[in-house]
Amino acid sequence: MQWNSFSDFIHMGGYGLYVWGSFGICALAMIIEPLILQSRNQKIRRQVKRQGGQP
Amino acid sequence: MNLSVSNLSCQRGERLLFENISFELNPHQWCHVTGENGAGKTSLLRLCAGLTNPLSGLIKWGGIPLKEDTDRFHQDTLYLGHANALKEELSPLENLQLMSQLDGSPATEEAILTVLDRWGLLGREELPVRVLSAGQRRRVLLSRLTLKPCPLWILDEPFNALDRRAIQTLYELFNQHLEQGGLLLITSHQAIEMTDGMSVNL
């Protein structure tokens, strides 16, 4: 374990912005993509129900 | 308001298509322009719609030469030609919405749906025009007859590609329009099953 404190962890030896930026954007992408897919799925399901009568 | 055409001549390229055509069209009247293929019917209609300029002669709408009050004339006429003027990527509904706005008489969605229903296009109102059949496109175009209220209709072969039922619908519209004091200038190679028309032969 190389971190003495939490702020050390955030600071990342001066590279905080870049490291957290990278991990952050990856995390963001990997959260948003499933959400978009989920809403697409729900939309299409509603459509199927509407036109198919009973699900 | 009447349309009067006097001594009209038209030249395309080197060819003189017709000379000294004169006629007058009054409210409640319709006129059938006849002639062989290439006689100049389309050319005459485009002249009357103000799209091209004649070699000589004068066209007046309500007594005023066309070029002198184009705004009112455009308000008062509807010209439908050989081309459908539909956007292939838009649905019939969207096409008619945009067109009615540009025609200066925005129509509500219900109004348009009612018209589309009359033309048997309900259920197709959301499809892109690109996938419609030749006759269905023509029907979309003809829907404009109902959506733009105006006295003078100039129609170039409106029956093309239409089936029996659509032609019937069109006749109903014609009769209604004439009764209400409209004028109708039309070309068609098929006989027109209406009475009391005048005819101009090129």
């Binding site: 001066g14 590279y15 870049y18 990278s22 993509e33 499933p34 697409r40 299409i44 009568g53 699900p55 | -």
Partner: protein, 242 residues
């Protein structure tokens, strides 16, 4: 086991539905382990300090972006040869995720480059060819989204991804030659000198996590596509939307 049975959307749809939770679970577990290694096990690099930790997302994302393109080409070939409908859907299901990883590779790479090289971007061979790969993805996405007849979309997409995959190696090598000839770039990518064991481990685990993620997303998206396309067919009306 008859593989062709699963080539029909009707039988693949429920199978995909069953598989998704497993892959999602695997992804979450591996991500947790991978992140733990990246931040708490892997030591500080003596040259790059803590900045190098970007490698744990950058490299897996780069790998995935290249790999997914090959998988897409594989499905495309299958689709053109056997004329199965599922193949086209699989290709289209994978493309957005592939493009996303290509994008992430570019962004994390630039975020790495700024502290290391002092610039967001250099015209290095690897960076350039990655950028071109991203363009290829965009081309595929643009083409498929512009065609709305599904049969044509499948076939056009398949042709494009195969043409692309033939070109990827050509592009890759041409870019390398281009870059070595001119010798213009002042910096070249510093290969991590001796890749420490833990670092490799972390990268591999993160890569596996991305794998799981890709499969889960692919399956999820293919289910959406199947539903959209077969909306009016009997089997969907009967049992798909419980």
């Amino acid at each position: 086991m008859n593989w062709f049975k699963y080539a029909s959307p009707a039988s693949f749809y429920p199978l995909a539905g069953k598989l998704i939770p497993y892959f999602a679970a695997i992804t979450v577990v591996l991500l947790a382990i991978g992140l733990w290694i990246s931040f708490f096990v892997a030591p500080t690099d003596f040259q790059q300090g803590e900045g190098y930790r970007i490698i744990f997302v950058h490299v897996p994302a780069s790998w995935m972006s290249m790999f997914i393109y090959c998988v897409m080409a594989f499905w495309s070939a299958l689709g053109l040869i056997f004329n199965t409908r599922l193949s086209g859907m699989m290709t289209q299901a994978l493309a957005p995720t592939g493009a996303l990883f290509a994008f992430l590779s570019l962004v994390t790479g630039s975020l790495w480059g700024k502290p290391m090289w002092g610039t967001w971007w250099v015209w290095d061979a690897r960076l350039t060819s990655q950028l071109i790969l991203f363009f290829l993805y965009l081309g595929y996405l643009a083409l498929t989204s512009a065609i709305d007849d599904s049969r044509r979309r499948d076939k056009a997409g398949a042709i494009l991804s195969l043409v692309g995959v033939v070109n990827v190696p050509i592009i890759y090598f041409s870019v390398i030659w281009w870059n070595t000839l001119h010798q213009g770039a002042s910096v070249s990518m510093t290969k991590a000198p001796t890749m420490a064991h833990t670092m490799l481990m972390g990268m591999l685990i993160m890569a596996l996590a991305f794998w799981g993620y890709t499969i889960a997303m692919g399956l999820k998206r293919v289910r959406c596509i199947i539903l959209e396309r077969e909306m009016s067919s009997e089997w969907i009306k009967k049992n798909a939307v419980e």
